[in-house]
């Protein structure tokens, strides 16, 4: 495979005396959609922040030289004291024509002159995605971009992300909760619970015992109608422990 856009090698983050991330390695190649999944507190957002240089971490993070990143954070605070229209917001990051095209591409051209504070959650999610793609990034980093998007909108948005990958040829690193839609669009799934539990092709991951342990046989069954035994279980701390026989 070609040289990765970005590669985290054995990245660890400690805070408050515990491991938030324990020697995690993950890489994104051009035109590849890599999805991070895992329960709450499994370190998905922390891993993204470490990779983006927003948080100090041990280990090695290699970027392809000159890599252009488009980032959609998990939380985006719209301070009501800041008067700003969507067009003005996008213009801070990209030329006006590119911004307009991006807005149209994600299907919200009509909000161009609306104030940021007046957007619905779904509109805001699309505006943030438009902002991230307007600069023609080599790598899109999306941290739960579906916050505030209803279920039907979610599937459409994931589909859109896959289309954008095809059009722009960029790599995508995505964090998500929603297993169903993720499975439909991701090339590779990394299942995280402070360490990498399992990773690989979406369909293979669903069959992985570690995935079943983490999400329960039912979720896995819904996704793959397939479940079997696993070699380790997860203590509430997130540490792994061997499965007791019996």
């Amino acid at each position: 495979m070609s040289e990765p856009l970005i590669a985290a090698n054995q990245v660890s983050v400690y805070a408050g005396g515990t491991h938030i991330l324990d020697r995690v390695s993950v890489a994104v190649h051009p035109r590849e959609i890599v999805t991070l999944i895992g329960p709450n507190g499994s370190g998905k957002t922390t891993l993204l922040k470490a990779i983006l240089g927003l948080m100090p971490a041990q280990g090695e993070i290699k970027r392809r030289p000159g890599l252009k990143i488009g980032y959609v954070p998990q939380q985006f605070d719209r301070d009501p004291s800041l008067p700003m229209a969507v067009a003005g917001f996008l213009a801070l990051f990209a030329p006006a024509c590119a911004a307009k095209a991006a807005l149209a591409r994600v299907g919200v051209a009509q909000v161009n002159n609306r104030q940021l504070g007046a957007l619905s959650g779904g509109e805001l999610a699309r505006v943030l995605l438009a902002r991230a793609i307007a600069g023609r990034p080599d790598l899109l980093v999306l941290d739960e971009p579906m916050a505030g998007v209803d279920v039907s909108g979610e599937a459409a948005l994931y589909h859109l992300i896959a289309e954008i990958r095809d059009e722009f040829g960029c790599g995508v690193l995505l964090v998500s909760h929603d297993l169903h839609v993720v499975m439909a669009q991701a090339d590779r799934v990394v299942c995280l619970n402070r360490h990498v539990c399992c990773e690989g092709d979406a369909h293979a991951v669903v069959r992985d015992p570690a995935f079943v342990a983490l999400f329960g046989a039912r979720a896995a069954g819904e996704l793959a109608l397939y479940a079997h035994h696993h070699d380790h279980a997860h203590a509430p701390s997130g540490e792994t422990e061997p499965v007791r026989n019996g």
Binding site: L52, G53, Y71, F76, S81, L82, P83, G88, L92, Q115
Partner: protein, 253 residues
């Protein structure tokens, strides 16, 4: 000074950093005291300590003590220590209130020139860095993650705030300077549809508050610094009232 406080104050408002400004002002008082103690210009001492305090406090906070609490602790320590330091100096003891509430009328012509020049400088740098400053204010981590220079912009912003606070200390005092940072932008907000408009209106409101306050002080023989702050407050009240009335009229149209 009032005009420069407007635009920078907008960023203080947008980033919800009024409390940091307050604490920087408190540290400024300590800076003034130290400046007098070691015999350098008071303005230089104030500005230097305010800048250091702003840069240090912006990185404050850990997992159990929230950043705001930490900033408050450091700021109030600075205020207490600065007050004690100034009170022990025979020559300034009578002038203590001037440091807390400002003493415009005691400014020398050269002080006024320095403050005016510094304010113009802050205004010019703000205009020059407008886009990166705004990007950092609205985008937060986005600017840093995508390599738009989030960190140095943050540092530059803190230095601008600290400079303004330090120079404003002589005018309206350590306890009131933050008022000049947050009131004009708040007054401008209802009438602005873009950040640029808000900054310009805030600058105008700040510039208007100073002569209004001075005139009121002259007429009533009241202390000038608090009068300027009250004038800013009156402008805010007028703005709030005006925008409410505007909304009511719009309904009936």
């Amino acid at each position: 000074m009032g005009a420069a406080a407007g635009p920078i104050g907008c960023f203080v408002l947008w980033r919800r950093m009024a409390y940091l400004g307050e604490s920087v002002a408190h540290m400024g008082l300590l800076g003034a005291g130290l400046g007098l103690l070691i015999g350098i210009n008071v303005l230089v001492g104030t500005a230097a300590l305010a800048i250091v305090a702003a840069l240090v406090m912006a990185r404050a906070g850990d997992r159990i003590i929230p950043a705001g609490t930490f900033v408050g602790i450091v700021g109030h320590m600075g205020l207490a220590l600065g007050f004690i330091l100034l009170a022990t100096m025979e020559t300034v003891r009578a002038d203590l209130l001037g440091y807390l509430f400002g003493d415009v009328l005691a400014l020398s012509a050269s002080d006024v020139a320095v403050i005016a020049a510094a304010s113009l400088g802050v205004l010019a740098v703000t205009a020059l860095l407008w886009r990166p400053l705004l990007r950092a204010a609205v985008g937060g981590d986005i600017a840093t993650a995508e390599g738009h220079g989030g960190r140095w912009v943050q540092a530059a912003f803190l230095v601008l705030v600290a400079l303004l606070v330090a120079f404003g200390l002589k005018v309206v005092g350590a306890l009131l300077i933050v008022a000049l940072l947050i009131i004009p932008p708040a007054a401008a907000r209802p009438f602005a549809r873009t950040p640029e408009a808000m900054a310009v209106i805030a600058a105008a409101a700040g510039a208007l508050a100073a002569p209004l306050g001075l005139a009121a002080a002259y007429a009533t023989d009241a202390p000038a610094g608090p009068c300027i702050v009250l004038a800013a407050g009156a402008i805010f009240a007028a703005s709030a009232l005006g925008s409410q009335l505007g909304r009511i009229f719009a309904k009936f149209r």
